[in-house]
Symmetry: C2
Subunit: 343 residues, 2 copies
Amino acid sequence: MAQKKNVTFDDIAKYTNFSKTTISRYFNNPDSLTLENQQIISEALVKLNYKENKVARILANGKTEFVGIIIPDLYHHFYSEILNRILATYETFGYKFLVFIGNENEETERQYIRELLAYKIEGMIILSHTMPSLELAKLPIPIVTIEREDEYVSSVNTDNYMGGYQATSLLSRHRCDVLIHINTPTPKEVPAYGRIRAFSDFCTEHDLKHEILIRELGISYESAEAQISSLFEHLETAYAGLKKGIFLSSDTHANVLLNLLVRKYGRLPEDYLIIGFDNSPISREAVLPISTMGQQVDKLAFEAVSLLVEQMNEQKKRRPAALENPVHKVIPPVFFRRETTEK
Amino acid sequence: MAQKKNVTFDDIAKYTNFSKTTISRYFNNPDSLTLENQQIISEALVKLNYKENKVARILANGKTEFVGIIIPDLYHHFYSEILNRILATYETFGYKFLVFIGNENEETERQYIRELLAYKIEGMIILSHTMPSLELAKLPIPIVTIEREDEYVSSVNTDNYMGGYQATSLLSRHRCDVLIHINTPTPKEVPAYGRIRAFSDFCTEHDLKHEILIRELGISYESAEAQISSLFEHLETAYAGLKKGIFLSSDTHANVLLNLLVRKYGRLPEDYLIIGFDNSPISREAVLPISTMGQQVDKLAFEAVSLLVEQMNEQKKRRPAALENPVHKVIPPVFFRRETTEK
DNA sequence: TTGTACGCGTTATCAC
DNA sequence: GTGATAACGCGTACAA
């Protein structure tokens, strides 16, 4: 490759006896040429086998149509699905995505951002939790975050509070004697904290017997199993004979509990109801399909890109609206009734 | 943003009374400047708050450090993990990745490739199965594929044959009375077909009673469950009383079968041994940890990028080696012995 | 409707 | 060790 130099507007211009400008217009404003001249150029393009060079175009007009993404990892299904959906918006908006895996190190992520800015990205979507939104807000391009601390930047989040409230309410309607919430330590600024608040609020408001169990559940199945196993023993002894409604922070953790139960009893006992969160694949693949409060990942992703595109367009105007206040969009969760709540 | 124009080499040159050239050299060949002049420029950079512009650099020297990726989806854990690992090689090689989700449509993927080439990517990694390798081979940049048809392009694949052979061999050593392989229709050109060939070869060579069950298992849990459920009934009747060693095409499918068994019997019966493929999370999260032939996804990804980098470097030389023959790297699988083969 | 001339920000090629 | 100048390929006033 790269042996022969690439065909440029100049070559086409010489070949067709037009000027570079006319060739450029053929691409950007074809109606300003006569139909026959469009024909001539069109034929010359195939004849010479012209390939566009967007790098030159960017340098000339500044529009890269690049969006940067920093995402913590792709092991959690939530992240990989949301990335999938974000990338798929190419069909709608035409933006290309430069993706970095955040690695929990602030200085490294700053480096990623510098690199992204050097490539003249027009906006960024951040899912990584590493950098405070206050710092992100100072960047010279629009930022949209998804499901992370977002005080100073625009964001799209699931309505975690509503999700937690509905899940708890549903367990309560099933006349459980005690309601349990199992979660991993969660900072108050993170949207997912709403699940804990909602559980607590609902139980307090309705004067229900309940317990909130916060443990460091780790990221591996094994560490979660170790922790939840001990919580399970606690439940078995403390609430023996009572009907237990258990709302867990994720489907992964709900599945761990379900497995412990099925291994012990060969089935899910009558006195256990389980609700997970996320509607991730494991909730359907589990030994019994797990009822779950699903995040609408497709909408989260689409709204995030959509919001970002709006703000990027604003930047392209003559006099961009000054640092407008952050916009926070909220997407309602959707409940999936499955076998772990049907008794 | 973009209110104030960006600081350029020109600005720095004027400020420091050097020429643009010297500023450029400061970045690309600092040793050619005196230490004190490096100091002066260095200070000017922070003073003026210079931000590099890689787009201009690309236009001038042609090196984008971009690699294109076309991947079928991120719902299958294999793909999301491999993408994760590929993106993570940024730390090693410095290449940035432009990612497209292939959507099974040849013309659309061709469009993606045109777009990628317009951005002057230096190479591509293809996981999507849509375009024949013959066509890929004609592109003007190096290509590396992963786990797909690869006759005419370089590739990195798992040693599927070895994986299938070892899995079958292991089941045979457990003295199963009959060996079963369950798979979805797989074209012979795809590396994963080696699993079927290996199963068949091993059974034939060792004169073992066996059956290969190929069904369209679909992509949803529900469709797989429907198919495997009927296969399960077949196994229960056709091989009642016999010890069955079952090797499935993926952990997802192995999990479906395991669930059917546990739901029916409350546990995994003695006369069933199960081995999956991939070592995906479900193999650990299942109600019983599933024995599986794991792909070394980290190595697949690293070797793919590594191979691509080699070939891209070759292209940058004065006289690039002509269309060298495709290189096919093979990564051995690793067996994970878990509870579904331990009786 | 079409053309001229210059700008975008960096690197490469010579000189000195 | 440093500088002047010409690329790189396209967009865009401004003119015609």
